[in-house]
């Protein structure tokens, strides 16, 4: 998974069965997927885009779709057939398999489906549990965990599958601040291509190398965080990271734009050009 995934959307229109307004309108984008952040107001189509890429739309949720989607040059359906996709839903409680006695079983569920050997499953579950600090919950019942812990469990059970593309829909909404910091630190190090929809704009600015801005089902812009925030500097609909707002207020820039990450702010304040 070292090389980066290429995605190509061409004129994708989509609406859910029974709804006539389009959930995605004329989506056209050719881009690389390494660490992509999806931002925009609610009802913008962020979840729809994640469900689309996960192959959930059409096969599972009835929708009408037109236009083409290709991953690494292959049509989405063929690509999905040969690859493992990972999708973490917004509501963690309903993400659990509904048939696991312990946290260990829950994480191992997908691995048993891949037909792996017992030893390999044990190794992977321990590794993933350690990454999301769930080691000392492994033999507890999933229902005994708190909202934030269940969210970490849901993420762990998807990462254990070693997905070729990880799709996260607001995965930290119920986590406490430390849990969220721990998760985004892990995400920064992970080498799996990720698309994450989240309202934590500061963490997205630190972790993502690309941001896609969606509004009412239309792609407003896709690009590097710095370019996005400069373009939408005074758009009230799009949140900006604290570093950017502070840089703007203190009037110091970092190579031509207001700082986006913490260390860019440090450099800008230290010797950046004060306009």
């Amino acid at each position: 998974m070292g090389n980066h995934l290429q995605v190509a959307f061409d004129q994708v229109n989509l609406n859910y069965a029974g709804f006539d307004e389009l959930a995605l309108k004329k989506l056209t984008l050719h881009s690389e997927i390494n660490k992509v952040g999806l931002i925009g107001p609610s009802h913008a189509g962020k979840s729809t885009l994640l469900y689309l890429l996960a192959g959930v739309l059409d096969q599972v949720i009835p929708t009408e779709k037109s236009g083409t989607i290709a991953l690494d040059g292959q049509d989405l359906v063929n690509w999905l057939a040969s690859k493992q996709i990972g999708l973490v839903l917004q509501d963690p409680a309903s993400q659990l398999s509904g048939m696991a006695d312990t946290v260990f079983d829950e994480i191992a569920f997908g691995l048993y489906n891949q037909g792996l050997e017992e030893a390999e499953i044990e190794k992977r579950v321990q590794a993933v549990a350690q990454k999301l600090d769930l080691e000392d919950f492994l033999d507890q019942a999933p229902t005994a965990l708190s909202g934030g812990q269940i969210q970490r469990l849901a993420i762990a059970s998807i990462i254990a599958l070693k997905p070729d593309l990880l799709l996260l829909d607001d995965p930290t909404s119920q986590m406490d601040p430390l849990g969220r910091q721990h998760f985004f630190a892990w995400l920064k190090e992970s080498d799996c291509p990720v698309i994450i929809a989240s309202s934590e704009i500061d963490d997205l600015a630190e972790v993502c190398d690309q941001l896609w801005v969606l509004e009412d089902g239309e792609l407003q812009m896709a690009g590097k965080p710095a370019d996005i925030f400069m373009k939408f500097a005074n758009d009230q609909e799009i949140a900006k990271p604290a570093a950017f707002l502070m840089g703007e207020k203190m009037g110091c820039k970092f190579d031509g734009h207001y700082p986006v990450t913490a260390d860019e702010l440090m450099k800008a304040a230290a010797y950046g050009n004060h306009d």
Partner: protein, 258 residues
């Protein structure tokens, strides 16, 4: 099926009997109770099931179930004793009311059948756990889908009861308070049932999506090994199935030549 954690206390022989055999035992004893024509035969079957009950490590669910059905059996004895159509010979008088022998015997026969069902079922309930059952069912050939449809309700029930509590709090905060009168209680039905049912089906939809993405129906699925070993489970199944068929034959024969 008591709580999800495996009941380690049943170290005695009941643990080495597999769940399907225990289910077939329920079937076998129920049929035997129905073939019993008189109180003596019914008594024998009852004694067998009592033996099963005495082997139980814990008896907590047994008393609740027996208590409820004893109350019903008593009302049956009274009603049958008085009004059973083929009552002829009076057994005894209670003031001006007289109880008939045939009605009392009929009621006791029915009562013994109920107790047989309760005892044999509680033998299954007390000595099996949820995970043991689901793993054994899948190991003995059911597909994950079939086991899931049968068993997953027991796993999601705690979550649904929690949802119910949260919704009742939320509606109480909005002033929906069931007072004594029937009408005020009925008024709380929709405000609680709508959120509860929509949430339950919403969770079912999300679960269905996440299960598919985690490959629940992949052909290469390997069944998790269960550390339980059972004593001659295949043999028990065949034996009990055969015996049950014999009993069904006996019952049909009885009905034909009655």
């Amino acid at each position: 099926m008591d709580a999800a954690k495996s009941a380690s206390s049943n170290a005695n022989w009941t643990a080495s009997v597999d769940p399907v055999t225990k289910l077939l035992l329920i079937l076998f004893f129920t049929l035997a109770a129905f073939c019993a024509q008189n109180l003596v035969e019914a008594g024998i079957v009852l004694v067998f099931t009592l033996a099963l009950v005495f082997a139980l490590p814990t008896k907590k669910s047994l008393w609740a179930m027996t208590a409820f059905s004893l109350f019903i059996i008593v009302t049956m004895v009274v009603i049958q004793g008085l009004f059973w159509p083929s009552n002829q010979t009076v057994a005894f008088h209670l003031g001006t009311i007289d109880f008939y022998q045939e009605g009392l015997k009929h009621a006791l026969l029915l009562g013994s059948r109920i107790l047989v069902i309760i005892f044999s079922t509680s033998f299954f309930i007390e000595t099996t756990t949820l995970s043991e059952n689901s793993r054994y069912l899948e190991k003995s050939g059911l597909s994950f889908k079939q086991v899931y449809v049968l068993m997953s309700v027991c796993y999601i029930l705690p979550q649904m009861h929690r949802n119910l509590q949260k919704i009742r709090f939320a509606q109480k905060a909005r002033g929906i308070q069931p007072a004594k009168s029937l009408w005020s209680k009925a008024k709380t039905l929709m405000p609680v049932l709508v959120p509860l049912i929509v949430k339950s089906f919403q969770e079912a939809m999300n679960r269905s999506i996440s299960l598919q993405l985690r490959g629940f129906d992949s052909p290469v699925r390997r069944v998790p090994k269960s550390d339980r070993t059972y004593w001659q489970d295949r043999a028990c199944h065949r034996l009990l199935a055969a015996l049950s068929l014999v009993l069904v034959g006996v019952k049909i024969w009885e009905i034909i030549c009655k």
